[in-house]
């Protein structure tokens, strides 16, 4: 079937229909042959951003690798909701070992694939490996293994699904939890309600500091961008990292139907910069289309409810705004600005 040539204004919008696009620009999700790697029947909550993110990412990776993919999963919501005994939602070879070792297990799978390829007289292994985990499994308990995998430049794409807390155990704070957020271990009580300010870890930047070939952030609100990044990552060898922003209705106290909206607002406020980096240097950022105030994002989530109410905490909201503005400056998220963060590395790995 032929396709209709599209005018420029159509591809630049969010509304453009797939059937209007040339096939190479259509999303993997829109195709009949998509692999449904994470199939229906899993037990995720309604509106779960992590389920969506995993589905998008793994289907895209399957397409990019001609279905020669193995996934290693850290313990967490994604693992639990996808494999309730005796069922599995995974249509791909998949292994769950522990909470904190997904990156290392993936290194092992990649090593085995390498040996297999060498024995078959191939230069590079056909079978590719993805490790995936939540923010807790990535930025906290799995961080040692992750950093080791990066440093050795093992042939693994690690995907972090960041919902900003330990959701599977009932919404506790992780090092990816934003300040002021209510979690089960940072309750909105006392003089400094919610999560403390001035803490937390920026793992995409730390990944870049390892000088690995590819680091990107992505969001479930931008399917095409997410798929593009996964595809690009799979076209490269060595250690790669994609950090995907995945709202969690249960943990955030947001409406199930607001998952995509929240993800978009996180990007449009500047709170979650969406960018790409190669060998430590930012190569591309998704510009903010229409800058939104942080309040628009915060208000939709009960985890920040204590900032509003009868006596809004204007100071704290302003502090959030300052955080967003700092990101906008650091990553050059507006207009023709350029990113000012990065770890230039003259000698590529």
């Amino acid at each position: 079937m032929g396709h209709q040539d599209v005018k420029f204004y159509q591809t630049g919008t969010f509304t453009v229909g797939n059937r209007l696009l040339p096939p190479e620009q259509r999303s993997v999700q829109s195709e009949i042959e998509r692999t449904n790697s994470l199939n229906c029947g899993h037990r995720a909550c309604q509106g779960c951003g992590e389920a969506l993110g995993a589905r998008y990412a793994i289907d895209a990776a399957m397409r990019a690798t001609n279905n020669q993919l193995v996934a290693v999963n850290a313990t967490g919501c994604l693992e639990v909701f996808s494999t309730p005994y005796p069922e599995t939602s995974w249509q791909i070879p998949w292994i769950h070992s522990l909470f904190g070792n997904a990156a290392a297990v993936a290194t092992g799978v990649a090593a085995a694939a390498k040996v297999r390829a060498r024995k078959a007289g191939q230069q590079l292994p056909e079978v590719r490996v993805i490790a995936q985990g939540g923010d807790g499994g990535t930025t906290d308990i799995g961080f040692g293994c992750l950093s080791g995998m990066f440093e050795r430049n093992d042939d693994v794409l690690y995907i972090c699904y960041d919902n900003q807390a330990y959701m599977n155990t009932g919404v506790q704070r992780s090092s990816a939890t934003p300040p002021a957020a209510r979690t089960a271990t940072t309750m909105p009580v006392g003089e400094h309600p919610g999560n403390d300010w001035g803490q937390g870890k920026n793992v995409p930047l730390i990944a870049m500091a390892h000088g690995i070939p590819y680091v990107a952030t992505a969001s479930v609100s931008d399917l095409r961008d997410l798929e593009y990044k996964v595809k690009k990552a799979m076209s490269m060898r060595g250690a790669r990292y994609i950090h995907i922003f995945v709202p969690c209705p249960l943990g955030w106290g947001s409406a199930s139907h607001d998952t995509i909206k929240l993800a978009r607002l996180a990007k449009e406020t500047g709170l979650f910069p969406v960018f790409e980096a190669e060998y430590g240097e930012v190569t591309n950022v998704s510009k903010i289309r229409q800058k939104q105030p942080v309040e628009a994002y915060l208000r939709l989530q009960r985890r920040f409810a204590h900032l509003f109410g009868k006596k809004p905490q204007v100071e704290l909201i302003a502090r959030f705004q300052a955080m967003a503005d700092q990101n906008i400056h650091k990553f050059g998220l507006l207009g023709n600005d350029k990113a000012v963060v990065g770890f230039p590395d003259s000698e590529h790995k």
Partner: protein
């Protein structure tokens, strides 16, 4: 080929001959020489088609091993002591998933106080982890057991820990017969996994299992170890056919027929015990020894059979179950359930303390005359113990034990000197 070499070197050669495909290494004494040797062999191309990965921790070592084994590669790693403890979560995971990884444990004490010398505390701490645990008596046996371990692991789809005494074996130069590649290839077929991560036939490994089937999964782990009780002797006899050597098996009796007193032990100390027994036999004393080669699975029937004539048993072990006494002894007791025999536990050689023949003569004789306490600590220096106990009784802020004791020792020494 006969070689005068270090135990670690012999093990590295045996592992190399077993054609490993992935080796992960993280250094800890006294395991280091094994993985150093293997690293060199991979780099030099002496081991073909093998990935050697320098990982960032033991936890990562076992995790990488889990990944490569699940992806169908023959996988090896080695550790000891603190390293074994550092990887524990992954150790249980490997056996729970049924992955035939082979790991050397170069047995070493566990701190605090930190101590690099030999005892069996490390592997004993993992006695319930679901791995098969076999102990080597000599460097020859250590080398042989590694070749057998791959076969055993892969036939059962279970991981195997080969335990060898740190320093005493790993660093000792002995004559070892290193087999030929042809022999090993004849004995050990290429790895054919029961489960594998393969895009051509996708499976999910490591799914969550709730109360509805968890007991069954655990029982199956036990059932596999029971199968190992049959398989271990079978593999040992296959090994003997090809290599012409008696290595491995479940238990190893020495001077057992008619022995009234039987000593039970594991690992290299069996050599010293046998020498002692030779001397006692020369004096007309009815004594023998039973070496336990397979600690997990614990060969209950074989032990019961071997000890049927014994009147009393002395379990000499390099480990201590703090708060109760022996670890091996407890298992031996269970094996002898319902039989009327005295069982003595002798805790010996902790943290590398020498186990001398003269001390062994003394405790064995005490046991023969039923004058030994049920739980005896070989060559315990009571003056040190009492001094510290006394200090703790009289001084609230009595300070760190290790430092106190070292100071006491220094005083004793200077008193003497």
């Amino acid at each position: 080929m006969l070689k005068q070499c270090e135990g670690s070197h012999a093990v590295a050669e045996a592992v190399a001959l077993s054609r490993p495909e992935v080796i992960c290494a993280y250094p800890i004494s006294p395991q280091t020489h094994i993985v150093e040797g293997l690293g060199e062999m991979v780099k030099a191309g002496d081991i073909k088609n093998c990935e050697y990965i320098n990982v960032e921790s033991e936890f990562a070592a076992m995790s990488v091993a889990i990944g490569s084994s699940a992806a169908g590669a023959r996988t090896y790693t080695a550790t000891a002591s603190q390293g074994l403890l550092f990887m524990v979560e992954a150790v249980y995971n490997a056996s729970g998933l049924g992955l035939p990884i082979v790991m050397t444990v170069a047995n070493r004490a566990i701190g605090a106080p930190i101590n690099i010398w030999n005892d069996h505390s490390d592997s004993m701490s993992q006695r319930d982890c679901g791995w098969i645990q076999i102990f080597a008596e000599t460097n020859q046996e250590a080398a042989d057991l590694h070749i057998q371990a791959f076969k055993l692991a892969e036939e059962l789809s279970l991981p195997v820990m080969v335990c060898m005494d740190g320093f005493i074996l790993t660093h000792a130069y002995e004559r070892v017969d290193i087999p030929t590649q042809e022999q090993v290839d004849k004995f050990l077929p290429p790895y054919s996994p029961r489960q594998v991560l393969d895009p051509a036939a996708p499976v999910s490994i490591g799914a969550m299992v709730g109360p509805e089937a968890f007991s069954e999964v655990r029982y199956l782990a036990h059932a596999k170890q029971m199968q190992a009780l049959e398989l271990i002797p079978k593999i040992a006899s296959e090994f003997q056919e090809i290599f012409g050597r008696d290595s491995g098996g479940l238990v190893r009796p020495y001077m057992l027929e008619d022995a009234e007193t039987v000593v039970i032990a594991l690992g290299s100390v069996l050599g010293t015990i046998k020498d002692t027994i030779d001397e006692m036999r020369a004096d007309g004393i009815s004594i023998g020894v039973l070496g336990i080669n397979s600690f997990r699975p614990f060969p209950v029937s074989a032990i019961r059979r071997a000890l049927s004539h014994a009147k009393r048993i002395v379990v000499l072990e390099k480990s201590l179950a703090v708060g109760i006494g022996g670890i091996v002894a407890t298992d031996v007791r269970m094996a002898l359930d319902g039989l009327d025999k005295r069982i003595y536990t002798v805790v010996a050689g902790l943290g590398g303390r020498n186990i001398t023949r003269s001390s062994l003569h003394r405790v064995f004789r005490m046991a023969m005359h039923d004058q030994l306490e049920a739980l005896h600590f070989l060559d315990l220096e009571w003056s040190i113990v009492n001094k510290e106990l006394d200090r703790e009784r009289t001084t609230r802020r009595s300070g760190p034990i290790a430092e106190n004791i070292l100071r006491d020792l220094g005083q004793t020494k200077s008193n003497v000197g």
